[in-house]
């Protein structure tokens, strides 16, 4: 691992590749025209379920709410046999202990947001403490936010160093770096922030906190996937991708999978390298799966809402 790192030449991030918005929108519309049906659809839907980070990130979160969500994570829809579980549950640091207990030995990971989520407006030391707290309580994954203010000021070294410091604080936990693309606005900046995060040590790059609109979009996600691809070819290192926020329908999730498949290929088509940050996507996927099996749509009341 360290030998690999030493080969990596840190580039000048001001020279990150440019991205053409019009071209990117045209390209993403092509992904939506692939035909996904029958076995392909069922396979894609099950894959989607297994890639979900089931999330609750609210001021009003309680132990009870987290426990209920964790039960749902393990038992998505028991009436349908052979379903995977979600990949992870995503909670605030204060809920990590509860979540860890609740998911037990199911193999579901516990991800914790950290670093003064969602604004990131806190001193770096506080962010490191926040991260360490989450990891100490047993978080398998840490979802950090970058300092968007510093990034927009052009303080790329600050952003880089902060990510590197959080990565160190993570220890064994995998680090997801949230760019909050809705605040970066242009695809050029999304690309630059992706490059900074990956070179600084991110294991995953993630679009959004879910607290800012727009959250994940296909052009933004494609831009990040392309950054991951270039990073892979430059360093040999695979980085994961997590679009979050705004993906609540199966059809859209399948479009994302098409985009993933045609940009990074087969190796990334697993929850080790791709996640959906979503709270309501799972039930729509379940509804579609049941429909594929029975031929009938059931009402939303047939799927539990934890």
């Amino acid at each position: 691992m360290s030998a690999l790192k030493e080969r990596i030449v840190i580039p000048d991030f001001r020279l990150s590749p440019r991205v053409d918005q019009v071209g990117q929108e045209e390209k993403t519309s092509r992904f939506t025209k692939r035909s996904i049906k029958k076995e392909t659809k069922v396979e894609g839907l099950k894959l989607t379920l297994s890639m979900i980070d089931l999330t609750t990130l609210e001021g009003k979160d309680t132990e009870g709410k987290v426990r209920q969500m964790c039960y749902k994570a393990r038992h998505l829809h028991d009436a349908y046999e052979g379903l995977p579980t979600v990949a992870a549950v995503c909670v605030y640091p204060s809920m990590v202990r509860i979540a860890k207990e609740a998911v037990g030995d199911s193999g579901i990971k516990v991800a914790s947001v950290a670093t003064a989520f969602p604004s990131g407006q806190a001193p770096t030391e506080v962010k490191i403490e926040d991260t360490k707290f989450a990891v100490d309580k047993g978080a398998d994954e840490v979802d950090m936010v970058i300092s968007r203010g510093k990034f927009l000021e052009g303080e790329y070294n600050f952003v880089f160093d902060e990510i590197a410091a959080i990565k160190e604080a993570c220890g064994e936990a995998r680090l997801k770096v949230i760019l909050e693309t809705g605040e970066l606005v242009t695809l050029d900046k999304v690309r630059r922030a992706s490059d900074i995060a990956m070179y600084a040590g991110a294991d995953f790059i993630k679009t959004s906190t879910g607290k800012i609109q727009p959250a994940a979009t296909m052009p933004v996600t494609l831009t990040m996937l392309e950054a991951i691809r270039d990073f892979y070819y430059n360093t040999g290192k695979m980085i994961g991708m997590k679009p979050a926020g705004g993906i609540s329908k199966s059809k859209l999730a399948l479009h994302y999978l098409v985009m993933l498949h045609e940009t990074l290929g087969q190796a990334w088509m697993t929850n080790q390298w791709f996640r959906f940050g979503a709270s309501s996507l799972a039930n729509d996927v379940l509804m579609q799966l049941v429909k594929e099996k029975t031929g009938l749509y059931q009402s939303a009341d047939y799927f539990a809402i934890d």
Binding site: S2, G23, Q24, I36
Partner: protein
């Protein structure tokens, strides 16, 4: 490694090593596979046999001869169409002349416009049928015929319908008059769209028409004849006759023709040019091309690669303005090549009727032979070949998306129009060099420029000897935009205001 020492150092993003750095290539063709999604052809009604559309009626050819038209993706016969001889051509030209004298040139523009609008609406109503037939007869993908060919054909009629009563504003103080009878010969790469390009402006300006579609793709033009018949357009205003090159030559040589509009090969264009020498026939020719697509190091590379792919593999490369020569600045060459190869691996080649298909069938066996001949030639010339690892269907005419590297200006694959999915890649160092190389061709139809720098775009577009120059995009068509070439790519412009001038006596 202590984190604090890991400061960002100011270095350029390293250019990838020429032969890769031992990092395995991404894999796209395994695992999750899309389900086949063939568009149904059951709603399409094709007759067993199509006659000539002359003077508002379908009439039998005086030769009594018919020829087959096949589906290039399956080699199955679709229908047979009449072969027009000199007597039929004469009949069609006379019908057109009669229609011109009797009503069409006297009819007010606002009345002509009504018919043209009606035709465009009828194309829209039957868009699905047209798209499927276009795909069946020509081999192009349903994605393209559905999303590009058919809507754009309808748009051309809409656009020129709008001009029909405004010709005095198009040519102020010049009293624009129709030329008379236009002979129009169209190619097989965009059969319906080319028919629309030719028919719409001619009708708007008050001309009558004898149109001949290509022998491999006559069906959508004949379907269009059915629409024209239903639209109530006065009989003889549009005549559509089918046949081979000889039939086309008869149209060109007929003394009753006032104007020739031809889209096709440069070779035939030259023959037409010779044939009309000494006559007062007006001519527009839209011929071959060998377009340069130029990528600078500061371009948005991923979108540029997508543009290159669309530029050369759109419609299996059967596009006169296809970006068949790629010039890549040497500092980004390895990166661009790697991205291109990865992208080619994700192209789906196969059944043109399948909605997932990106690249369909080559139009005819003879065209496939030409393409294969050039691929062999490229290899023999010492260029390095790369082809998609996809499997081709066992039946039908198919060609893998292909690119050649290690190509020089003096390679024939960089000089001659291949008209297939074959890209020749060259490198360059400076702006001056690439401008010179891009213009160093007998053709001049189109070009593409990819850079993030606006001033560079304007510098290049003014120096490029090409009818169309696209910047940071490629193969974009619109009825309002004129299209046509320099040098051996022909002369005259179609589309837009300029397209009216080609059919008007001023």
């Amino acid at each position: 490694m202590p984190v604090k020492t890991k400061k960002a150092q100011l270095k350029e993003i390293p250019e990838e090593k020429a032969k890769g750095n031992g990092i395995p290539k991404l894999k796209f063709n395994s695992g999750w596979q899309y389900a086949p999604a063939p568009e149904s052809a059951s709603h399409v009604k094709l007759k067993d046999r199509y006659d000539l559309f002359i003077n508002g009626k379908f009439v039998k050819p005086s030769s009594g001869k018919y020829f087959e038209t096949i589906n290039p993706a399956t080699e199955a016969k679709l229908s047979e169409v009449a072969e027009a001889n000199a007597a039929d051509v004469d009949k069609a030209v006379k019908a057109a002349r009669n229609a011109s004298d009797k009503y069409w040139k006297k009819m007010p523009g606002r009345e002509r416009a009504k018919y043209i609008y009606r035709i465009s609406r009828m194309i829209q109503e039957r868009a699905r049928e047209f798209a499927v037939i276009e795909t069946l007869d020509g081999g192009k993908t349903i994605r393209e015929s559905r999303d590009i060919d058919v809507p754009l054909a309808a748009n051309h009629f809409f656009y020129y319908a709008g001009w029909a009563d405004k010709l005095e504003y198009a040519f102020p103080n010049r009293n624009p008059q129709p030329l008379g009878v236009a002979g129009q010969i169209i190619p097989w790469n965009f059969p319906l769209l080319m028919a629309a390009w030719k028919i719409a402006p001619a009708l708007a300006t008050g001309n009558t028409i004898v149109l001949k579609p290509a022998e491999t793709t006559p069906l959508t033009a004949l379907k269009l004849a059915e629409i024209i018949q239903e639209s109530g357009l006065p009989e003889g205003v549009v005549n559509i006759i089918t046949g081979f090159g000889e039939t086309g030559a008869m149209i060109v040589n007929h003394p009753g023709i006032d104007k020739i509009a031809f889209t096709g090969s440069t070779e035939v264009g030259k023959t037409i040019q010779r044939a009309v020498a000494g006559t007062d026939k007006k001519v527009t020719l839209e011929l071959g091309g060998k377009a340069a697509n130029i990528i600078f190091e500061d371009a948005p590379l991923d979108q540029a690669v997508e543009g290159i792919i669309n530029g050369i593999y759109f419609n299996q490369g059967h596009v006169c303005c296809a970006g068949s020569r790629l010039f890549v600045q040497e500092s980004v060459y390895n990166t661009v090549l790697r991205k291109l190869k990865d992208r080619i691996e994700t192209l789906i080649v196969g059944d043109p009727l399948d909605k997932n298909t990106d690249i369909g069938a080559i139009n005819s066996r003879s065209q496939l032979n030409i393409i294969n001949k050039y691929i062999e030639l490229g290899k023999n010339e010492g260029a390095e070949i790369f082809q998609s690892s996809c499997n081709l269907p066992s039946k039908g005419f198919f060609c893998k998306p292909t690119l050649f590297t290690n190509v020089a200006q003096s390679n024939r694959i960089a000089q001659e129009e291949i008209f297939g999915p074959v890209l020749a890649i060259q490198t360059f160092r400076t702006d001056e060099e690439v401008i010179e190389k891009a213009n160093n061709t007998p053709y001049g139809l189109s070009a593409g420029v990819w850079t993030d720098k606006g001033s560079k775009i304007f510098n290049l577009t003014t120096k490029m000897r090409a009818g169309v120059v696209w910047a940071n995009t490629y193969n974009k068509f619109d009825p309002t935009s004129p299209f046509g070439g320099y040098k051996e790519s022909g002369y005259g412009r179609e589309g837009g205001l300029h397209g009216l001038a080609a059919y008007t006596k001023l």
